[in-house]
Amino acid sequence: MANHKTVIVSKGKNGWGGPLELTPTEEKKYVISVTGGGIHPVAREIARLSGAEVVDSFKNPVAKEQTLVAVIDCGGTARCGTYPRLRIPTVNVKVMSPSGPLAKFMTEDIFASGVTVGDIELVDSEAAVAAAQKTEADEAVVKNNEKIKETVAAKAEAVEDNSENNGYGEKKGVMGIIDKIAKGAGTFMNIMYQAGRDTIDTIIKNIIPFMAFVATLIGIINYTGIGEILANVLVPLSNNIGGLIILGVITSLPFLSPLLAPGAVIGAIIGTLVGNEIANGNIDMSIALPALFAINAQVGTDFIPVGLTLGEAKPETISVGAPAILFSRVITGPLAVVIAYFMSFTL
């Protein structure tokens, strides 16, 4: 306890969110590094300054109640929102602003991105106390705001409840039927409208940005002739089942797969290149299905501790599960390509 000190983690250059103030306690004494490829220097630095313990979440998972802060390297799809959703302070070493399906959980009080080792500061005790008070005050304000919001929401619900109560049982006969139909239509409209809003939100936040990136990439590749160079490398590997199995083996190697997986970006780029060559007639169409599995044997290997945490797995399960899955991929990755190859005969 004596060695536990408060540190302030600010957002990095071009980063977002923060600053986060972190004080380890006896219960919350672990800095978890969820970065793949060992403990990240940022996690190590936070632990060193604050006196907390740092663990590699892939090897030694920690229960979420004991986690002081999670250090992640996520470009902006799933993982970056997982820990904020559990209200665990999250430090992202990559530069990003809230995005992805869990964007709404990433708030400034719990999330900082673009963080480098230089953005971590030790607070001397007096300043820490003042800062702590300030944070408490801030929290109180936030809580108040939340309360207000809740009351408003509760009131709104109450109003709705009333209207429902009024609607049922009182009116009978034709009027009752009309009432029910109107109510049903109202609910239906609401659901459809909200569904539409969610859809446009995902399209703007997740799909179009990726399209912009891929379209620019394809444009450059096709126009400059880099495409031909890449094709020379890619076509011999992708044009036959043997090459695809090799690709499947490469993408499933336990030390490589967690590095290839984040955001499915590398798989998407190789997929786009293969697709381009299929379109140009350099790669046979029958290769499409096995290729989809060969480029993606690494899927989700970067996300194992997080995915298992979402499934409420115990730390022991995670510590066994992560290597089990990584090892299993070496077998199932190439095997998936073979299955897809035989399935492609039906196309």
Binding site: I203, G263, V274, A288, G311, A324, I325, M343
Partner: protein
């Protein structure tokens, strides 16, 4: 001067090529995604998460369903990454295998149901747009991607289940293996 113009042409041409590809995405894929994703979003809201959860809870005990139907429903309705929360309905010993199975399905499903993992569509779209340009049927490839995906996740789930059982034993976690 001519040389400069040639450079300028080349520079802007590169991005014009990109713009054409982008416009193709915007007019070809986006409208389809908008309507499809809206419909499925609405369906999920109408059925309700509770009902889906209750159903999943019942069928997780059968290995054949645990690594096919359960991930399919989980990924379809809860989408990536919330689909992994379904792991809480099963004993600890199956959780790694279930995660492996579910996460391996978040791309095969996008061929027909892109709402399930809209942030990572390009694993599928990259290959599929090329396939369509070459004259293939994207819907047919999407269907085969989904069916093959089901076979693959069943195989993957069963293999990972065996490997993790072996490792639980080796690490001395028999307690977890005996948990029902």
């Amino acid at each position: 001067m001519d040389f400069m113009i040639a450079i300028a042409d080349g520079f802007i041409g590169m991005f014009q090529a990109g713009a054409e590809v982008f416009m193709g995405f915007m007019t070809g894929i986006i409208p389809l995604l908008v309507t499809l994703i809206t419909a499925v979003n609405a369906l999920t809201k109408m059925i309700g998460e509770e009902k889906i959860n209750r159903f999943l809870q019942k069928i997780t005990k059968y290995a054949l369903l645990r690594y096919t139907v359960v991930p399919l429903i989980a990924v379809f309705f809860f989408t990536n990454p919330m689909c992994y929360t379904v792991g809480r309905f099963m004993p600890e010993k199956y959780k790694p295998a279930f995660y492996d199975s579910a996460v391996s399905f978040v791309h095969p499903i996008t061929g027909l149901f892109p709402h399930a993992n809209s942030a990572e569509l390009f694993i599928w779209l990259g290959v599929a747009t090329g396939y369509a340009t070459a004259g293939g049927s994207q819907a047919q490839l999407g269907l085969m991607f989904l069916l093959t995906g089901l076979l693959v996740i069943l195989m993957r789930g069963l293999v990972t289940e065996r490997i993790s059982a072996y490792m639980f034993k080796k690490q001395g976690y028999e307690r977890i293996l005996n948990e029902k």
